[in-house]
Amino acid sequence: MEHIITPKVEYVKLLNRYAEKKSVLGTLYLTATHLIYVEQTNNTRKETWVLHHHIMSVEKLPLTAHGCPLLICCKTFQLLHLLFQRERDCQDVYQSLLRLFQPVKEEELYAFLYNPHQNEEDRRQGWEFINVANDFSRMGLSNDYWEISHLNKDYEICSTYPSILGLPKNVSVATVTGSAKFRSRGRLPVLSYFHKDTKAAICRCSQPLSGLTSRCVEDEQMLQAISQANPNCPFIYVVDTRPKLNAMANRAAGKGYENEDNYSNIRFQFQGIENIHVMRNSLQKLLEVCSVKSPSMSDYLTGLENSGWLRHIKSVMDAGVFLAKAVCEERASVLVHCSDGWDRTAQVCSLSCILLDPYYRTIKGLMVLIEKEWISIGHKFSHRCGHLDTDPKEVSPVFTQFLECVWQLSEQFPCVFEFNERYLIEIHNQVYACQYGNFIGNCQKERLEMRLHEKTFSLWPHLLKNQHLYRNPLYRRSLECTVLRPSTLPLHFKFWCGMYNYYDGGMHPKQSVLDQLLSLTQKQVEGERTMTELQRVRGVMGVVDFVRVERYLTDMMLSPSHPFTAAEGAEPAATEHDLTSSKDKPVSVETEHSKEEVQESS
């Protein structure tokens, strides 16, 4: 690869944050996709793999007596502190990484090289596995109130929206196009979620171009149509997720928020979630706290407080809860927007979906939700994640905050999610890894132009294949019909050590209840199979030729590998619960595939 100045440097030290004496010498390799650090001590070989796309920043620190330090910070919150003996090596690695971790062109992203050994048919099926249209059908669309519209099939009404949209039934084309023209970037009000029980809907859009005085009849009609699509409530809530001050500032620029006088039967509400820049700075402060070497308790608590991070998480959660309450308690529809309607709006809409509908709390349901409320409707993943070397002011942890909100919920409701914390962390890692095509690009149109479905693979089948790692053993389907009513008192928001200090293994509980329960669930499946088989054998005992039974029994009781498990592996039920191979598999992004990739390129 032309960007790799030096593919291998020996005698590099990886500094251990907690015990510097334990730092040993190793060899650093740069491949087309990964940075690999190999420690070889006596008989043990320890490898640290870091995907280039996971790198957030590379920094050369001032020279010390021990060598040239290089600090690598990752988007997965991993920190690598390397010490080179020669300044030249440090510079070469630094130069190479700068070019490797933030490519200029999309085609340079990992997903365009990566092949999980699937054929074209697998690839096609993989991309079709999660389908937003199916989710509309699941909600009961099209029905008397809402329908699926193809008006945006060429992305002409709104270039950042998907080709299919949920719209109020019988709304005229003129209303749709008129309303789109009155909204920032044409992001007109569309359906996000239809709540079957109450007939209330959650809709989303961008801010209106109302300025100080402008109004638009079509936009007013559009909101009227949304209101009329709900037979159970005479008004709709219009929720501006921004702080009032921000929204008012936008009015001066010809944008702004809805004037209650111009729209009939709306109830307008601000929610006060801060913008992407505030969130980016907040995360940076949080990460500074996380990376302090040995902080005192008050350093940590003060730092956590000053970062404001949990305050922002609470503001997102508060807004999500407001929406869910409006829908299930007041049976009122809600229209949500922020400025462009692709950051805060995505957070709040998807969170309220999780609160309202147990489906989105399943492994597959969360995939659908992310596909629907984030990917398809134009959350700018490429920009927000900084996949490419673009404007750093566009980067913001909006999606991370959503995942954290889900985690905070799972702490309050340990039995209602089908997945565990590792699933959220894995999704987070994959968003930044660019190993699969799902999170590349900023909207559907862009993805189509990049021909991602032909050139890259979808993440979801890969996650589904490994779902045994992500199961929550405490998940109880019987509880699934309930709407979640989380408490948003400050005392319920905790620092997510499992995410932000993921790589500081020493901080985590030394015995994992999750692992313990997962292995018990696996044992349970095996035990139940063995028992069924034993009961069957007892039933036929004495009737059939004993020699056969005896052989059967001997196999069963003496063989360490349960023959039943092996024999029935093909059953659908068995694959669903197949936990036999779950142990000892790494949870991180660097799977066996990544390693193969490197072998191929070297």
Binding site: L474, H492, K510, Q516, M531
Partner: protein, 449 residues
């Protein structure tokens, strides 16, 4: 003294009780010598029985003739009682105040409590120093059990039997005791079987400003080390505080006098409250009344909880057990946490007149609630992380009354269920296998050709 003198109004009707996350209850409020009771006298509502000893502080408010008493409890619960009638409310309030601050230990509830359960195992006989010493003897012969403090005259706050190095006679112990604050001379606290190392405990030495020393104390401490070995003296005060103590006759060990020992200061702020206080909605409600006690025992229980959280499979007990201990340490029908020393407890005749907490806990029906389903015994030393990120707010205690625990309880039940179900399943599989094996032997002769 008669409790009746303190109870100005024993009974008020139409009182409304407010508790977080529970429906309000209207009923009759009764005051007894030891309890505040509120009952709606209906079958389906829960009654409130609150020990006066549990009450930390009360606040009164009036709106017209309706009085409100806010009761803040030592278990961090806050309840509100709406009492019609200003006089009744004032009477109730002053009665509660008097009853919750009784000075005499012998008026405490444990002296009046009669157990409704059968005592199977007497908790007072649970810890027998002689028995514990037998265990030690099986591991080492370096120690002996001394009766020097038999009548609590050498150290009033120590128990009567103490484990000390074998080669130190009682006379030396007395001299060492006179050199230690409160007579608390160095005694064995823990013997580590794996390497024979020990932990001993003592009060500060009385070196004073002129550096007094005591040969017997030095000998006693050195007797615990083999030749060539070194040890640590850990002073849990800051060096500054230790220095100041000299002026009051206290002080710390001079290293020259204890050459095999290195002194280190691991400062623990004695009067500090809970380190998470800033993040906690409520903390102890002491309303200015002088408290000689810091929440030392609670801090210990919390440390255990923090370790339990990091090693969820290494403790036979669960969080409920720790919370139960916290509750009973502050207010209880049992007397295990009454008094300040063995001497006091003996004097109060606790073991004859009252019931031990352990008598109640050590019954199968109670123990079951406190057993950790994840427990897998192992002999390894556990090393918890002390990074700030690893230390969490103990929600079970500090948020106990501020949140609904329904979902968390369900999760705990589910976890216990999974573990229990697995055990049953394994048992069934094993018994089926046995049955089949038996069938096989019975059938074999018939099948032999």
């Amino acid at each position: 003294m008669e409790f009746a003198e303190l109870i100005k109004t024993p009974r008020v009707d139409g009182v409304v009780l407010h508790r977080p996350f529970m429906p309000t209850v209207e009923g009759t409020l009764c005051l007894t010598g030891h309890h505040l009771i509120l009952s709606s006298r209906q079958d389906n509502t829960e009654e409130l029985w609150l020990l006066h000893a549990n009450i930390d502080s009360i606040e009164k408010r009036f709106v017209g003739s309706l009085g409100t008493i806010i009761v803040k409890c030592k278990d961090l619960r806050v309840i509100q009682l709406d009492i019609p009638g200003m006089e009744e409310c004032l009477n109730i309030a002053s009665s509660i105040e008097a009853l919750s601050t009784l000075d005499s230990v012998s008026l405490m509830y444990p002296f009046f409590y009669r157990p409704l359960f059968e005592v199977i195992e007497d908790g007072w006989q649970l810890f027998v120093p002689e028995e514990a010493f037998k265990d030690l003897e099986s591991m080492t012969d370096e120690w002996r059990l001394s009766e020097v403090n038999k009548d609590f005259s050498v150290c009033p706050s120590y128990p009567s039997l103490l484990t000390v190095p074998k080669d130190i006679d009682d006379e030396s112990l007395c001299k060492a005791a006179s050199f230690r604050h409160g007579g608390r001379f160095p005694v064995l606290s823990y013997y580590h079987k794996k390497n024979g190392m020990v932990m001993m405990r003592a009060a500060q030495p009385l070196t004073g400003t002129n550096g007094r020393r005591c040969k017997e104390d030095e000998k006693l401490i050195n007797a615990t080390l083999c030749a060539g070995k070194r040890g640590y003296i850990i002073d849990t005060r800051t060096i500054a505080v230790a220095q100041q103590a000299k002026a009051r006759g206290g002080g710390f060990e001079q290293e020259a006098n204890y050459p095999q020992w290195r002194r280190i200061h691991k400062a623990i702020e004695r009067c500090a409250g809970h380190p998470f206080q800033q993040r906690c909605a409520q903390s102890a409600y002491s309303n200015g009344k002088p408290r000689s006690e810091a929440p030392v025992f609670l801090l210990f229980l919390e440390c255990v909880w923090q370790i339990l959280r990091q090693f969820p499979c290494s403790f036979q007990f669960n969080e409920n057990f720790l919370i139960m201990l916290f509750e009973h340490a502050y207010a209880s029908q049992f007397s295990t946490f009454l008094g300040n020393s063995v001497a006091e407890r003996v004097k109060l005749l606790l073991s004859q007149k009252t019931v031990s907490l352990w008598s109640w806990v050590n019954r199968p029906q109670e123990l079951e609630r406190f057993l950790n389903p994840l427990y897998e015994p192992n002999n390894l030393v556990i090393w918890p992380s002390v990074a700030p990120q690893s230390l969490l707010l103990w929600e079970g205690v500090f948020l106990r009354w501020n949140r609904s625990t329904k979902c968390l309880d369900e999760a705990y039940q589910e976890m216990a269920h999974i573990i229990e179900y697995n055990k049953e399943l394994q048992n069934k599989v094993n018994s089926l296998r046995r049955q089949l094996a038996q069938l096989e032997t019975e059938d074999s002769p018939l099948q032999t050709p």
